[in-house]
Amino acid sequence: MAQQVVSVQGVSKSYAGVQALRAVSFSLAAGEIRAICGENGAGKSTFVKLLVGITHPDCGVISIDGRVRTVAGPQHAQSLGLGFVAQELSLAPRLSIHDNIWLGSAEVPLIHRRARFRARAQAAMEMLGIGDWDLDRPVSTLSIGQRQLVEIARLLARQARVLILDEPTATLTDAEIERILGVLKLIKARGHSIIYVTHRLGEVFDLCDAVTVFRNGEHVATKPVREITRDGLIELMLGRPFGEMYPAAPAWREGSHAVVVDRLNVPGMVHDFSLVAPSGKILCLAGLIGSGTNMVTRALAGLAHRATGRVTINGREMRLGSAAHCVARNVLFLSEDRAAEGIFHRMTVTDNLVATGLGAHARLGILSWPRLRRFAARLARQTGIDRQRLRAYAGNLSGGNQQKLLFGRTLERAEPGILLMNEPTRGIDVGARADIYRLMRELCRRGYTLIMTSSELEEVVGIADIVVTMYRGRNVARYEREAIEMTSIMADITHPPRATQAVA
């Protein structure tokens, strides 16, 4: 085996009495791509933060290139050859690619000698196969996937030999993911090591040499991917055997046409989009980022102010552009950005759960707290949130529990609602994901109409009863039940044959 570039022995870390990592040991060889998997809260993020000095271990030893080091902070980690790309991209959108690559680098002297640094930036870009991009282009003109590449180029330009990527593909579409994975293989071939934190198990097997599994802050296993199956990996993460991920769809019945969209337009994003969604089914909008899928759901939720078009909900016409009006019509929205558009972090779980049900538990605008508390307790039970958590701050819940909470808001309506979900399982671990899918099926059973978007094709095929594909803001095709299969959807959303006709 090659030389160990990173080696960690017996590292522990606790936050305010909660043990986030317990006596973890880990080692990484040069030229190895190592996946780190585990449920939310398993300690993956804490572990990588320790490596790059964002937090510091309570005890234990970190060695880099065989020398014991105390990683003081991200800049120190950089000088040791460790580069980190956080889940949230850290690029300054108005600055150019070149400026972003050197932003915050301790190497750049007070008087910036651009030419020398430019050459190094260019070399890094070339290593990624994107040497033809204009270094002076502002980052704001790049797609998320392209920005991710710039983040990686930034690390290479700073001579990182170990790249630590925390869910780099969480917000990317499949085509973009392919590109990132290709680039990472290229980097590996040049002898760099990569630590790859991910929820997407497919990538573990496509890309990585070995996988390390964390559970409850402990290192559970490290295995070469050759010696492990997908189900075996899930079992390691959960600590128990794993049933079927996607609950079986109930027998097909023609539902009433709950949602009828006729020629929806959002300037620059959605063009003459039409849709019919029956009740009791999961309809999935499939498309690349920028194809307008997320904007369709936003428009239907009243959150796109310039949207036009005719939308009827259970036969009644609905006004667009007012979220309050849509909620009053029982059209409810779950954003892909739970942090900014879903959860009230500094309010309790109870407060969060009852957010859409205040009116039903008030008389003349005066609230009845006993009724609201019972209401919240019922919602928590139905969504599988621990009762003890009701008084905790919602911001302290894991991503999976936050999403359950948001589902809870949509329950116990006067009548079955229309549920619009953007990327409902983004950033959610395997165990909670299965819970979310079960919840979605339960809502179908209660007569809800579910419309969701997803950039994960596997999920689309797994959960949807109906798939509507989109390309550049327009309809491409509609598939039902058995007709749903991955290749035709992939073809539709990347370069559909019919799209050109649709434009004409």
Binding site: G73, Q75, L303, A324, R346, D351, A355, I366, L367
Partner: protein, 332 residues
């Protein structure tokens, strides 16, 4: 292996603060509560051991003066909770409503005076709330513009001078108080209770926390944020108008200097009380406590013979300390 030179390479760049201290400063909310409790007890001991503090005239004066700012601070709490930090125009609103109260009472009697002043306060502030909530204007800039507009309007209609009540208008009944508690303080307590009830038992109150906590999330669950924000400003206008009325009654006169600096003292009380400057977290009862704390400090300083400058300095330091503690306590 080439290792680039870096000034950071040698030692740990973490400030070498003792761990206990670091936790006290950066640690979570619970530590903030501890700090607050220790501070309150310390202050109480200091106040009770200051000679003259417990005398009746001193306490009565304290409770009276605290109430004017207190009512404004309760209103300011709603604005802060809504996520709009503070309004610079509440002091001017106090002055102008005091003048409206006096003038209207002269013209149509006390009841009319009350109605006119409260309505004027509500309307002027609700208009600001609409500009901020509906048009999305920056709250600070809007309130500064409102401040200029109020002063300008008062000057333009030639009412820049002090207004006095006519001989036939008597404020007598309001100057007595109940069982030795000045009526201003009773009003302040009443306003606090009303404010707290609004926050916890009305849909508007819960919406206020949601809008302040996350505007986008609130809109996504169907809250009409512009209404909520306008509502917060409207109530702030009503409460500030009450302060104006009380001042007009207490001093049997009214001019634009009455509310001078109140907005600053009010925001200090809000922050010292523990309402989060970003909005969405805090309460009117906390502001009540904050108002008292600041007032007690000022009285103690005064009794110890320190001059006004020291009071300002201390108030400034206190606000700074609170804001720093807040950002470190809630930030990650």
């Amino acid at each position: 292996m080439s290792e680039p030179m870096s000034p950071w390479r040698k030692g740990p760049a973490v400030p070498a603060m003792p761990k206990r201290w670091r936790q006290l400063v950066v640690g979570g909310r619970r530590r903030l509560v501890v700090i607050r409790a220790a501070f309150t007890i310390g202050l109480a001991v200091l106040a009770l051991t200051t000679p003259g503090f417990l005398s009746r005239p001193s306490l009565s004066a304290l409770l009276t003066t605290v109430s004017f700012v207190g009512c404004v601070a309760v209103g300011m709490t709603l604005i802060t909770l809504s996520g709009n930090i503070m309004s610079f125009s509440l002091g001017a609103l106090v002055g102008v409503t005091a003048m409206i109260f006096t003038a209207a009472s002269n013209w149509g009697g006390l009841a009319f005076g009350f109605a006119a002043a409260l309505a004027a306060g509500a309307l002027m502030n609700a208009a600001q709330g609409l500009v901020i909530g509906w048009a999305g204007a920056n709250p600070i800039v809007t309130s500064i513009a409102a401040l200029a507009l109020i002063y300008g309007a008062v000057e333009a209609i030639g009412a820049g001078a002090t207004v006095y009540p006519q001989a036939d208008v008597s404020y007598g009944i309001f100057k007595r108080g109940i069982v030795g508690i000045p009526f201003e303080f009773i009003t302040f307590m009443f306003v606090t209770v009303i404010g707290q009830l609004i926050l916890f038992f009305t849909i508007f109150g819960r919406n206020l926390y949601m809008v302040g906590g996350s505007l986008r999330a609130a809109e996504a669950v169907g809250v009409r944020a512009w209404r909520t924000i306008s509502g917060a400003y409207l109530w702030a206008g009503v409460f500030s108008a009450l302060a104006g009325i009380m001042l007009a009654i207490r001093y049997s006169s009214a001019d634009m200097d009455f509310g001078l600096g109140y907005e600053y003292q009010a925001i200090a009380a809000v922050l010292v009380g523990g309402t989060v400057v970003k909005g969405g977290e805090g309460s009117v009862v906390q502001t009540f406590a904050g108002t008292l704390i600041i007032a007690i400090i000022e009285v103690v300083l005064l009794l110890k013979g320190l001059r006004q400058e020291w009071q300002y300095l201390l108030a400034g330091l206190l606000v700074l300390a609170v804001v720093v503690l807040q950002t470190r306590g809630t930030g990650d």
